[in-house]
């Protein structure tokens, strides 16, 4: 389900490939992301540009992925739509994830810090 793009040799951009990241597909999303991390990707940007809705299971999966990345690298998110942004805010995830307006800014900022 996820689509990945190599921004550089170190940074991977991921689009979840679903409009709604919910209990229905959160586990598949997490499994695919986990496989990516276990394959060595450590600097990840999940672009939520095309995601209109994220439920508590989706958020749980995302935090699980963040824990998986751990100290090996970082995980940023970009392109949060209003409903998704509100979910992040109400759960204080804006203090856990680095959030960028768009994926280009995210990739550029991340590559400068490497």
């Amino acid at each position: 389900m996820i689509y990945t793009t190599e921004y550089s040799s170190e940074i991977t951009i991921i689009r979840p490939g679903v409009e709604r990241l919910t209990a229905v597909n959160a586990k598949a999303f997490k499994d695919e992301m986990t496989a990516l991390i276990d394959d060595g990707s450590a600097h990840l940007i999940v672009d939520f540009k095309d995601v209109t809705f994220l439920d508590s299971s989706g958020l749980g999966a995302l935090v699980g992925i963040l824990k998986r990345v751990g100290n090996r690298g970082d995980l940023a998110v970009s392109g949060l739509r209003p409903d998704v942004e509100q979910m992040f805010r109400i759960c204080r995830m804006d203090r856990v994830f680095t959030i960028y307006n768009d994926v280009e800014t995210a990739a550029q900022t991340m590559s400068e810090s490497l």
């Binding site: 809705f53 299971s57 749980g60």
Partner: protein, 395 residues
């Protein structure tokens, strides 16, 4: 394998033909049951458990095709395999017979070998059907047992919810609890903590269904009035709901899985009207004052059991006499109509603002009805909890 006790009804008005067939059938190890016409055969189908009928085409009273139609119209718990004896290969007659529900044909005067093969085919189909029926019966019984277990679990879960028919300490509390499946991943409680203080909480476990309900019931058992008192009130009676949430976070962060829950809890002082609350990822409740103006309470907080190092904050809000606090799980604002539009917070706010006019006790049901209408009667996809707490005048 031949089943020796299988009954075969032989419907044939030609006596010699009938005797001949019955003898052959008995010789093959089956039990033949003769019938002189369609009506007699139909009676036998009704009265015996015979699952194979061999019938002639032309018979007085009720012919072979009529008999077949009647058999197909019966409400039997087994299938009846109909083999028709025909004199010719007349396609039109065969077509009509097939439409009536005949399964197979045999030419009159055919060999014993053919009869044997036809009956064996019928027996195989009958055995197959009865195996399927057995399997369906087993699955059905199993499913009924699961459903029964779930209903028992749901009843146990409801037992944990507070009984809210009476006012508590001068607060009127009303609620709605609507699981999306039989059991719910939601839980709430509301009880007296001390002579002056009312404690309440609402919890929504991520996900829904049986998995989420296990955790929600565990929380319901854990967060008793005693637990609430010990964890959320300091020795001097000063409320600290964030301390209780932090304690729960430590306890539930230990597991490796992605399970977590959101929570809103608070302590209301019945004398001063001071509300101390902690919001942990749960949607902001509405506080509605007596003029009917609703205000969202809290600006968020970490969910519980997600991040072990999370810290929690207390918030304070004034809860005036005749004011109402309306707590809704996210199932309300996220409920989508057939056009995939969410119900949203603004519609919830509009209903919340009617509270001073209609009274807190009617708010939960009003929201449930609005959501049912919004979803055109479709059940919710997530567990719904609504709790309305109204502060009344103390005599």
């Amino acid at each position: 394998m031949l089943a020796p006790s299988l009954k075969i009804i032989v419907a044939e008005d030609d006596e010699i033909q009938q005797l001949y067939l019955c003898a052959l059938i008995n010789g093959l190890g089956y039990e033949s049951v003769p019938a002189e016409d369609g009506i007699a055969a139909l009676d036998l189908v009704r009265q015996t458990d015979a699952q194979i009928v061999i019938t002639g085409l032309q018979m007085p009273n009720l012919d072979g095709i009529g008999l077949t139609r009647q058999i197909r119209g019966l409400d039997l718990d087994h299938y009846v395999h109909v083999i028709m004896l025909t004199g010719t290969d007349d396609n039109e007659v065969r077509n009509e017979a097939l439409l009536a529900g005949v399964d197979d044909f045999m030419t009159k005067g055919g060999s014993t070998a053919i009869l044997k093969t036809r009956i064996r085919t019928a027996t195989r189909l009958i055995n197959h059907a009865s195996e399927l029926a057995d399997r369906t019966r087993v699955l059905k019984a199993y499913n009924e047992r699961i459903q029964e277990d779930l209903r028992a679990a749901a009843a146990a879960q409801r037992q944990l919810l507070p009984k809210l028919q009476d006012d508590i300490m001068g607060f009127r509390v009303a609620s709605a609890f609507v699981p999306s499946a039989i059991v719910s991943g939601d839980m709430f409680g509301c009880f007296a903590l001390s002579p002056d203080k009312l404690g309440f909480y609402a919890v929504d476990v991520s996900g829904h269904g049986v998995h989420a309900s296990l955790l929600s019931v565990a929380i319901g058992h854990l967060v008793t009035p005693e637990y609430f008192c010990t964890k959320a009130l300091h020795n001097n009676d000063a409320p600290d709901p964030a301390a209780m949430v932090a304690e729960l976070n430590t306890r539930f962060s230990a597991s490796e899985n992605d399970d977590y829950f959101t929570m809103f809890c608070g302590v209301i002082d019945k004398v001063s009207g001071r509300l101390d609350y902690c919001q942990a990822g749960y949607p902001s409740p509405f506080y509605v004052n007596q003029s009917g103006i609703a205000e969202a309470i809290g600006d968020g907080g970490f969910p519980v059991g997600m991040i072990s190092s999370a810290s929690y904050e207390n918030g304070v809000h004034q809860f005036d006499v005749d004011g109402t606090l309306i707590i809704c799980s996210d199932a309300a604002s996220e409920a989508e109509n057939p056009k995939c539009q969410p119900f949203g917070n603004e519609r919830l706010r509009t209903i919340a603002e009617t509270s001073p006019r209609i009274g807190a006790q009617d708010i939960p049901n009003k929201i449930v009805h609005a959501l049912t209408e919004w979803r055109s009667g479709q059940p919710l996809e997530d567990d719904l909890t609504i709790v309305a707490i109204e502060r009344k005048n103390i005599e």
